[in-house]
Symmetry: C2
Subunit: 443 residues, 2 copies
């Protein structure tokens, strides 16, 4: 037993009370672990950790729990005197936002897996935590079971992060992996992913990159000590990726991945900015992220002293996400017991957000062209005219089916867009089949 | 500014003082970062972090530091009133052990990268930390820059770890990678590694697995909440690995790695034990650790809920190791500032250590045999007689040069040793060329 600052004596007679908000895939696992592993949790925290109640939407569903643990009144559950820590795994902005705020304002610690909420409201929630000396933990919000938030906030707190690149959405990675493997089209693979439960009935948040963008904002915030919200993230989804894109990627030794990137870039005046972006891109097959397939996630962190680190594992699912939630819960409970505090929000660096125009990338441009003398010269001329430097050009096929694959050096998005518009006007160019960014190469 | 339990008010007028013990590869980088990144450190901690002094062996060497910061009297430096945190990067048992104890006994927090010391003396050091409410951090002791201790202690604190397998020694991994790539012999590659600075003049600690064993003990301790010391680790080095071993490994789709393993095993009575072992083993080329080459490190953690996680990065070197040290230093300084505590030693599970005999593994046995009828039958007979079940047999070559490669199912080490002894006695067996374990396969 130990006495903390508020004079509470934790121990067998005064266990640490937990409320769980939401009993979906993750909540069910969290509840199971709290109940099944009470001894381990007590040993690891120093005092018993007891489930006080679970807020659900529907009381009639059998959840294998004593009725008195279930309630539809989350607000009252959060406010209970014997609830010290609130685990929010209900998702969505409302009512999660108000419930978390209420908990923090009452000095209760909060563990949440809610990336959409954190991506836009970390500022107000962190302020509430700070004002009431409560903890706000959110390891489970990004990349499921993979420890990445804690390493960024704590392990790399004495280093200078320059880049975070991750595959942080399992649905899109499953789809892109399956397309690469089978040669099938996007629509067919999406249908299969939906059937298998890897994609939701409305897959928009995943396939259009909104989920990855929320996670990118969270990663960028903790990596760069700067508040980044989802609106700061440049975002493109994978719904326009074709079987042909995967095929041409393979032909040049690459694969296509939906990347969430947060990067320190230096503008013309030598000032640091943060570029945060989500889009599908070609990466070389030898890149460590290229072999991250199916529903797995991975995050690569590059820091000044640490060099390149990679974290890999299951990015979603009930038990893996619950593992991350439980780690945070044990730490929050330990802080109650020992009187410590989670590191609060750190936004001192206040780096400006770089526009996508400030962030040159390499491009991979596919053109359908007429197979006649001078076409390469004409195409190369348009790139040169717009100051986009070409790295390699590959010509494939003959006659009507001839194709040019142009890989550029780093170029501004606007310059590339102008080039593409001009290429489309050329007589010798039948169509610009696809334009994809190329990442993960050393020029 | 904030007031902690001891009434100290940290801030511009009362910075957090740091002593660094040792100025080798890692110490030099730590000192550089503390001095060059003072602003970032102050922002991340809440108060300035100031270097009070560096203990070195030789004052005459130019280290680019003001003379008043250097001392050969580590004991007095540690005892200074204005030193709040001691960073020990001198290595070795003595005098590091006494200096760390002195710091902790004075309530000063300690950050250390000293795996040899921790592997054998964590118990006494952790007790000193506990008794004097000081922090003992050691992320840098295992796998350099890669966050693995903190994820195990904190992120996975609500999960149940079943296995930790790592490549945690860069020297041996460099040697084995080079042998696999070039086909060269052990001695030649070791000489080259020494020339390039990847191996020390006396490479024993690395090549005989002592360094990896110390790290395995530390990993096992934190993963299984059980005190494990280096003497508990079954250990074999790589000095007997031949070019032929690498070649036959490649022929069966494997590579050879020096693995540090800590594993939960269940004995005949259904009781959990911890098996901790270091040895070179074949792993399938598709295993995530198989592509970890050169001086890189990686650690795979398997937990009940998280599933399989992998952490990858630079396992040694000045700057990478300093990154881990600095992360710990910032956390220790934050705890001074905010009044929190690092998680202490957790050994409540007290799992018994499994003997190597309790830990069946698969084996890969190479035999030089006479190419005549009945040899396979005779060999298979010896395996059967000793209850070692064969998975596959491959026969190569003819006449005098015929070779049998036998891969077993899981077998007891003693049974395998008896089998090998009996095989060597067979008329049809010229010699048992090599016996290597096989890990990372699902049977």
């Amino acid at each position: 037993m130990t006495e903390n600052k508020t004079g509470v004596v934790w121990g067998q007679d005064h266990p640490i009370g937990v409320a769980v908000l939401g009993m979906g895939t993750v909540g069910t696992e969290v509840v199971r672990i709290i109940r099944d592993h009470a001894d381990d949790l007590c040993n690891r925290v120093g005092a018993p950790v007891v489930l006080r109640g679970v807020a659900v939407r529907d009381l009639s569903k059998d959840r294998g729990l004593p009725a008195e643990l279930l309630t539809t009144d989350a607000e009252t559950l959060v406010a209970r005197d014997d609830v010290d820590i609130v685990v929010e795994v209900m998702g969505g902005i409302d009512p999660a936002r108000a419930l978390i705020a209420a908990a923090l304002n009452a000095g209760k610690s909060v563990v949440t897996a809610n990336k959409a909420l954190l991506a836009d409201y970390t500022g107000e929630l962190a302020a509430a935590a700070e004002n009431h000396r409560a903890d706000l933990y959110f390891e489970a919000a990004v990349a499921g079971a993979i420890p990445v938030i804690r390493p960024l906030i704590q392990s790399l707190s004495g280093d200078r992060v320059n880049r975070v690149v991750g595959i942080v959405n399992g649905t899109t990675n499953f789809i892109l992996s399956a397309m690469a493997e089978t040669g099938a089209d996007y629509d067919d693979v999406l249908a299969e992913a939906t059937r298998l439960g890897y994609a939701e009935a409305d897959p928009t948040a995943d396939v259009e990159g909104y989920d990855a963008a929320a996670k990118a904002a969270i990663l960028a915030s903790v990596a760069f000590h700067t508040r980044v919200t989802s609106g700061d993230v440049y975002r493109e989804g994978i719904s326009k990726i074709t079987a042909e894109d995967l095929e041409t990627a393979a032909a040049v030794g690459c694969t296509v991945k939906l990347l969430a990137m947060a990067e320190r870039v230096t503008d013309e005046d030598g000032k640091d900015k943060v570029s945060v972006r989500v889009y599908p891109a070609l990466i070389p097959r030898k890149h460590p992220l290229a072999s991250v397939n199916g529903a797995f996630n991975a995050v690569v962190v590059e820091a000044e002293n640490a060099g390149r680190l990679m974290f890999y594992g299951q990015g979603a699912g009930g038990a893996p996400t619950a593992s991350a939630v439980m780690g945070d819960l044990v730490m929050a409970a330990r802080n109650k017991f020992f009187g410590g505090r989670a590191p609060g929000e750190s936004v001192y660096a206040e780096l400006p957000i770089a526009s996508i125009g400030d962030t040159p990338t390499r491009y991979h441009v596919n053109l359908q062209v007429a197979d006649r003398t001078g076409v390469l010269e004409a195409v190369a001329g348009e790139f040169a005219k717009h100051h986009v430097s070409i790295s390699t050009v590959r010509q494939e096929g003959h006659d009507e089916g001839a194709r040019l694959v142009v890989v550029t050096h780093h170029a501004q998005e606007s310059a590339l867009a102008d080039t593409v518009a001009a290429l489309a006007e050329l007589d010798s160019v039948t169509s610009v089949t696809s334009v994809l960014r190329l990442e993960g190469t050393e020029e």
